[in-house]
């Protein structure tokens, strides 16, 4: 198909500056998602928390000093409060001079207290119990991974959402082609379809996140949870932004602000939308298919 593209202005590169900027942004966004994807892959299979190791450390301290770490931390907090009061009242030091050492002391105490709380409240598993609960004992032999990628990732469901996003890319180019032919009703129909498919994809993502939360996989649960939610969450944010952008074009077209002459505006929005699609192509292949095949 041949079409005529008006050049709005002469630039030193001979290229439209807005389109150039969009391509530069997409190139930089490649690095952004590349970092997130590689972080997920680096931590893949390393999501087990070293709770057994921590219990050993906790028990060793208790054996050495005769009291638990929790009791020790409470004693330390009381000592810090007493020291603070003595400094303030007896030695007559100003409050400001005490702020830095006091904050540092409290920070250390809070860290110790939090660690003691974790040690006291985390369940301890034997290797057999870990396996019985559907988890795996990680290669270090001291960590239990309970929530596995292959157990929570729903490949059939995600395949459907991938199909939905691929179809949204098709409707996006069809919208652009319609606008270039000055077919405004066709443009509106295809672009509205793109928005709806984007919303449907987000619906799948919300459903998936909810299912994961039901399984107990929160962003703070383990490395798999943290890296997975950050990566797919940022992608979802990109999709949301894209849906808002494309919706604004649909609304603008009804107000007569989008015509054949503004095809470049739609093309730039389309570049962004297709980029969201190619990022998902990589996420689906690397995270869902390859990631779910092995451990973690």
């Amino acid at each position: 198909m041949a079409h005529v593209e008006p050049i709005e202005e002469q630039t030193s590169t001979g290229l439209n500056n807005r389109k150039l900027l969009m391509w530069a942004f997409l190139g930089s966004d490649c690095m952004f998602f590349g970092a997130l994807i590689s972080t997920f892959m680096v931590y893949r299979g390393r999501s087990g928390t070293s709770i057994l190791q921590f219990h050993e450390a906790h028990d060793a301290i208790k054996d050495a000093i005769g009291i638990s770490v929790g009791t020790l931390s409470i004693i330390l907090i009381l000592l810090a409060v007493v020291a603070f009061a003595v400094n303030l009242i007896v030695m007559n030091r100003g409050v400001v001079k005490q702020i830095i050492p006091a904050v540092l002391t409290l920070f250390v105490i809070v860290v110790i207290f939090q660690s003691a709380w974790i040690a006291g409240h985390h369940p301890e598993f034997t290797a057999h119990e870990c396996t019985e609960m559907g988890g795996i004992v990680l290669p270090d032999n001291e960590s239990c991974e309970l929530i596995l990628a292959e157990n929570v990732l729903d490949i059939p469901l995600t395949s459907i959402s991938t199909f939905v996003l691929l179809m949204s890319s098709l409707s996006m180019v069809m919208a652009l082609a319609a606008l270039e032919r000055n077919n405004l009703p066709g443009f509106r129909t295809w672009l509205t379809a793109t928005c709806l498919l984007g919303v449907a994809f987000l619906g799948f993502q919300v459903f998936e996140f909810n299912a994961f939360l039901q399984e107990g996989l929160t962003p703070r649960e383990n490395l798999f949870g943290s890296t997975f939610y950050v990566l797919t969450g940022f992608h979802g944010a990109h999709v949301t932004l894209g849906v808002l952008w494309l919706s604004s074009l649909v609304v603008a077209s009804f107000k007569g602000k989008v015509t054949q002459k503004s095809a470049l505006d739609v093309e730039i929005a389309g570049l962004y939308w297709h980029f969201v699609d190619i990022v998902w192509i990589v996420i689906f292949s690397v995270i869902y298919l390859i990631g779910a095949y092995g451990i973690g």
């Binding site: 198909m1 050049i7 691929l166 192509i281």
Partner: protein, 100 residues
């Protein structure tokens, strides 16, 4: 640099767009099919990465029209993409992720 305010370009049409979409769906179906096959992880990883790269190239080349657009756009995007790939491989190699 464009010498006039009008420039003639050849872009794919709706028929080609639909053809590309069908190819993308078939490639995705093959990816999912390979996932459920009983093959070695190395073979599965290779096939899926190959198909993903193919889908990536199809969308960038035809839907984003980089194949038909000015080469400078290709260079700018490729620079970011190659840097991202380099960072990914370097990070995974650093953490022995490529060998385990």
């Amino acid at each position: 640099m464009a010498s006039s305010n009008i420039r003639e370009k050849t872009h794919p049409g709706p028929r080609q767009y639909i053809t590309i979409a069908v190819i993308l769906v078939i490639m995705t179906a093959i990816e999912v099919g390979v996932f459920f096959l009983t093959i070695t992880p190395a073979a599965m990883t290779g096939i899926i990465l190959f198909l993903a790269l193919g889908k990536f190239a199809l969308v960038v080349g035809y839907y984003m029209q980089l194949r038909y657009d000015d080469r400078k756009f290709l260079y700018i995007f490729t620079a970011g993409f190659v840097l991202a790939l380099f960072v990914m491989v370097a990070l995974m190699a650093l953490f022995n992720n490529l060998t385990r």
